[in-house]
């Protein structure tokens, strides 16, 4: 019941703002800092986002500490060299002390339907990886499938095209990028973490062959945005370093340390008046998982990377202040049902680990004071297939974006 007290406290503080604060009207389609920086006409522009979270597991008659964390604070700088050529960069500080460069790319615009991008870019997969600003999703933390199936924030160095074809109401992106690292002295991919630990993030990354990433979005129906993402390519391995092309044993060994990855994502967003619906579905196929798991066995125990990984969610949200005359803020309760499994299928002879198959129910409320400032609170229930009951956690936080 203590959690309801903190929720009440947040609500009380929040309500004191209600009468003075004004949110801008809801837009159809998402914005992120990159789109803002590229839209800006100033030569130097900046933006940013951040979230400060409170997470606390509860239930089971166990005493638990809560975590208070400046989860991330991000500054983004854009520089316009000319009408056509711009630089976008994103510098992220996680948990107060870990610094990352999340994006750093040049964008050359030939026309609205053809722009060339090169540098450290986000892999265009699903909604959240590209629109990862905390004001762009409901709930304090990013949806779990966008952590375990799509390893948000997933970024690598690459080059490619993007553009908008307004006559067809289509946006597209097509990039040649660096892939995951599957082996770097030890295995980087596993059943527990999926592909997440394999992200090279553009930091002294290694590459033998690039991968292809593609995404298109259709926005031709009012309020609706349909997305299709695809990714295909091989992972990278440190074992290819200085290999003699005639050394078949070494090449076979190195080949066992890589897998092929094909990922397909379908997403839907619908926003009309007070209602918001979202759905995402990802399917990942991993080739060579058997050999990889055997090769990366450690102290006699085989690795457990799945042969397929699946994740999906459906989410409904409703702005209960939509018709309110006394405020322009948005108060949006939401509920999201997610399922994901990093071992939807496994290589022959392996047994699926039921800990990796999870069902998640997230319910909460977001209060948007203005576009760019959201106060959030939610309860997340997680149940692995191996377990009878749900683990419970309360989250609260503030999210900012500008």
């Amino acid at each position: 019941m203590k959690y309801w007290k903190s929720l009440t406290l947040i609500m009380t503080i929040s309500l004191t703002f209600v009468f003075t604060a004004h949110a801008q009207n809801a837009e159809y389609g998402l914005s992120n800092t990159v789109s803002n920086l590229l839209k800006s006409d100033r030569s130097l522009s900046f933006g940013g986002y951040g979230q400060i979270d409170y997470n606390k597991p509860f239930g089971n008659n166990t005493l638990q500490n809560g975590n208070l964390d400046v989860h991330r604070l991000v500054l983004m700088f854009g520089y316009r060299f000319s009408d056509k050529l711009s630089l976008v960069s994103e510098i992220e500080v996680e948990h107060v002390q870990e610094i990352y460069i999340e994006q750093a790319f040049l964008n050359y615009s030939f026309a609205h339907y053809l722009q060339v991008r090169a540098g450290l870019m986000l892999v265009p997969m699903g909604i959240i990886n590209e629109y990862h600003e905390p004001t762009n999703y409901h709930g304090v933390e990013r949806p779990l499938i966008d952590t375990y199936i799509v390893p948000t924030t997933w970024r690598e160095i690459g080059i490619g095209f993007t553009g908008t074809i307004p006559e067809m109401a289509l946006r597209y992106q097509a990039y040649l990028m660096n892939g995951f690292s599957s082996y770097n002295g030890t295995a980087q991919l596993s059943g527990k973490n999926g592909l997440r630990k394999g992200r090279q993030k553009g930091a002294e990354s290694i590459m033998l062959k690039p991968v292809l990433a593609f995404r298109s979005e259709y926005y031709g129906i009012l309020g609706l945005n349909l997305g299709l993402s695809a990714y295909t390519g091989q992972t990278q391995s440190s074992l290819y370093k200085s290999l003699n092309r005639d050394d078949e044993t070494a090449i076979t060994r190195a080949d066992s340390s890589v897998v092929s990855i094909k990922m397909l994502g379908v997403d839907i967003r619908y926003q009309r008046k007070a209602l918001e619906i979202r759905g995402q579905f990802y399917h990942t196929w991993i080739g060579n998982a058997l050999e990889y798991n055997l090769f990366t066995a450690s102290s006699g125990v085989n690795n457990d990377l799945g042969s397929t990984m699946v994740g999906y969610y459906a989410e409904v949200a409703y702005n209960i202040f939509y018709r309110a005359k006394f405020t322009k803020t948005k108060l949006v309760p939401f509920v999201r049902y997610s399922v994901y499994n990093t071992q939807a299928s496994v290589a022959e002879g392996f047994i699926e680990n039921e800990d990796y198959q999870k069902e998640v129910i997230t319910g909460g409320i977001d209060w948007t004071i203005v576009t760019g400032v959201v106060v959030k609170a939610d309860v997340q229930l997680i149940k692995p297939k191996s377990s009878e009951g749900y683990s419970q956690a309360f989250d609260a936080g503030i999210a900012i974006w500008f």
Binding site: N25, S35, H112, T164, G220
Partner: protein, 194 residues
């Protein structure tokens, strides 16, 4: 003293006059895509052919816009209005005015209206602004169908905002409100010749 003031102000006035002339040129400069309009009219009115007759008599509120009446076998069927909408300043929404440039980015659109001035269809046909192409979406433009003269519209309320095209969305919404209102006034004026 007075002369000195005039010569001083002329440095400001001359460029401003230049800008005015240029924007006037913009207003008159658009080409009307008659065949495209005809295709849409035929589709919408479910007829085999139609005739567009330009109303050349000056009509209050239509400065710059072109108004046609749709006729079939001599019978009026509705109206077509073609206009240019200015969005951001050339060089971008944040750019300061540069005299060597056309002062505004723009796009051209037409709407088909009923005899009562109700909007039946809106299409953007010449988009010359650097950003905000999303407003060209037919799905988004469908929101204007059924709009009547003197109806107030706000982007974000009756008209759903579209991210990445905030300024273009506001510009076309304001223009549609102003043009339908002028048309409504014209139609309800007993002195106007139909």
């Amino acid at each position: 003293m007075a002369m000195k003031n005039i010569s001083y102000f002329s440095w400001i006035l001359l460029p401003l006059a230049g800008l005015l002339i240029m924007s006037f040129h913009n207003k008159k400069g658009f080409e009307i895509p008659l065949s495209r309009i005809d295709t849409e009219v035929v589709k919408l009115m479910n007829t085999k052919s139609s005739q567009l007759v330009e109303l050349t008599k000056p009509i209050p509120g239509f400065e710059g816009a072109s108004l046609f009446s749709i006729e079939q076998e001599g019978q009026p069927m509705g109206y077509v209005l073609v206009n240019r909408v200015e969005s951001c300043r050339a060089g971008g929404c944040d750019a300061s005015i540069r005299i060597d440039q056309q002062p505004f980015e723009f796009f051209d659109y037409f709407m088909i209206l009923s005899l009562q001035g109700e909007v039946l269809r809106v299409r953007i046909f010449n988009y010359q602004a650097t950003r905000g192409h999303e407003v060209m979406s037919k799905g988004w433009l469908r929101q204007f169908v059924g709009i009547r003269p003197h109806q107030e519209l706000t982007v974000g309320d009756e008209i759903q905002a579209i991210s990445g095209a905030t300024i273009s969305a506001r510009a076309i919404t304001a223009d549609i409100v102003s043009q339908t209102t002028s048309l409504g006034d014209y139609l309800s004026d007993p002195l106007s010749q139909r």
